[in-house]
Amino acid sequence: MKVYIDHAATTPCDKRVVEAMMPYFTNEFGNADSQHFYGRDAAKAVADARETVADIIGCKSNEIYFTGSGTEADNWALKGVALHNRHKGNHIIISAIEHHAILNSAEWLERNGFRVTRLPVDSTGLVSVSDLETAIDSETTLVSVMYVNNEVGTIEPIRELAEIAHRHGALFHSDCVQAMPYIKIDVSELGVDLLSMSAHKFYGPKGVGALYIRNGVKLDKLICGGGQERSQRGGTTNTPLAVGMAEALKIAACEMRRNNEYIAKLRDRFVNRVLGEIPYVRFNGNTERRIPSVANFSFEFVEGEGILMLMDFNGIAVSSGSACSSGSLDPSHVLLAMGVPIEVSHGSIRFSFGKDNTMEEVDYTVDKLKDTIAKLREMSPLFNLKTGGTYNV
């Protein structure tokens, strides 16, 4: 049995999306900037794709800029806005639990003379509105907070945060990469000035993302080149991937409600069984403000890499927030920001369900997880110390 429970890492490309993209790799191969009919056909396909994306998030099509990834969109938003508004102020604000695309862009800005404030989160991963009120000052040009956290699935109060940013004359950006397939996004309702997305998180292709830039918002370019993307992002337009992204987003929007209900059922069964059948486990996240797909747990007394590998041996793909998997010694910055003790954070696993998972897969995963945790705990001096080696609490 092969079970994929890592949809927050990436999703399989929907067959309908692949079908929509195929002609643009071969017959319709034109460069969208060419003057001739090949180019015009490609340009039409890109324009349609842009319009589809714009319609779904409630903006104008000239506010959508295709990029090579969600990471690029994040880099562009942060660096572009900060650099462009340098004369107004050198302060930006992010949250402590952002994706590394934001964290490391902010660090880059810090090395280049900017001041960065990282907003803390509570034990469920929520940013507090009043913390932003305290942190923001007249030098702040940009606030960037993700809509949904990628490790624990908590939904941040974006609208309220954007309002505060605007009241203080700052722009607001949100990394919406993890939100797209689960939450209907309307940029004007959210009040964001910039928003990042990535196609492979909603059953689209890898290698394409987009940045929404509200008309009137100015930022420096990240990628200099030709006149593509209204001269704001150089590089030959990737017609098939833009088409794939639009098709994937269209399908995701149409099927959102049904998928959400189904995925939440899988998640609920999984969470209930884990909490009921495995002792010494902590649920990480918010049980109200969350997307339906993610369940993050810390299994006490064991280390994440071992869990991940034993699950892998059983044909189950999950993700460890733990240090060892990435080769660094640092445990998850998200869990630490949420106040999970460092020794407990080492044993954390993110399970993220998708529309193609089944109840049988959920049950199989819990069964194997129970064996895995028991096997590793049998080896753990911590478990034996705390419990005398028995599961009887």
């Binding site: 007394f301 064991v302 280390e303 890499e305 071992g306 590998m309 034993l310 041996f313 733990s322 240090a323 060892c324 080769g327 660094s328 010694l329 445990p331 003790p341 460092i342 020794e343 407990v344 080492h346 049998e378 080896m379 753990s380 001096p381 911590l382 478990f383 034996n384 110390l385 705390k386």
Partner: protein, 134 residues
């Protein structure tokens, strides 16, 4: 990233457990860093006749614990004191570079267990590492 030998040692570890009334016991590492290893030894006439381990840590830490305990059984304590982490890694046919530090724990835990044994022989006590956990 791990070779088959390491994967096997991790998936089917040997000598898991804790020897009752062990002649030597050594615990190293700490929970904050994500690695703790406890090794217990049964020693007769300065020869290690049994070794067991308990490890909290990654797959490399578990694999090296298992392999190191297998290697020291049958050794004299002088031989076991000369066992380096490099030898354990060699026995496993290599570890990824960022995992080499995990193998150091096994060498240290065995040294500490032998130190404990020698101290007991001389009616002295060795300060034990207290494991701390939330």
């Amino acid at each position: 990233m791990y070779n088959q030998k390491v994967l096997d040692a991790f998936a089917n570890p040997k000598n898991v457990g804790c020897i009752e009334n062990a002649d030597g016991e050594g615990t190293v590492g700490n929970a904050t860093c994500g690695d703790i290893m406890k090794i217990t030894l049964k020693i007769e006439n300065d020869i290690i006749v049994d070794a067991k381990f308990q490890t909290f840590g990654c797959a490399a830490a578990i694999a090296t614990s298992s392999t190191a305990t297998q290697m020291v059984i049958g050794m004299t304590i002088d031989e076991a004191l000369k066992l380096t982490n490099a030898r354990v890694v060699e026995e496993l046919e290599g570890l990824p570079p960022q995992k080499i530090h995990c193998s150091v724990l096994a060498e240290e835990a065995i040294k500490k267990a032998i130190e404990d044994y020698r101290a007991k022989q001389n009616n002295k006590t060795v300060e034990k590492t207290e494991i701390e956990y939330v």
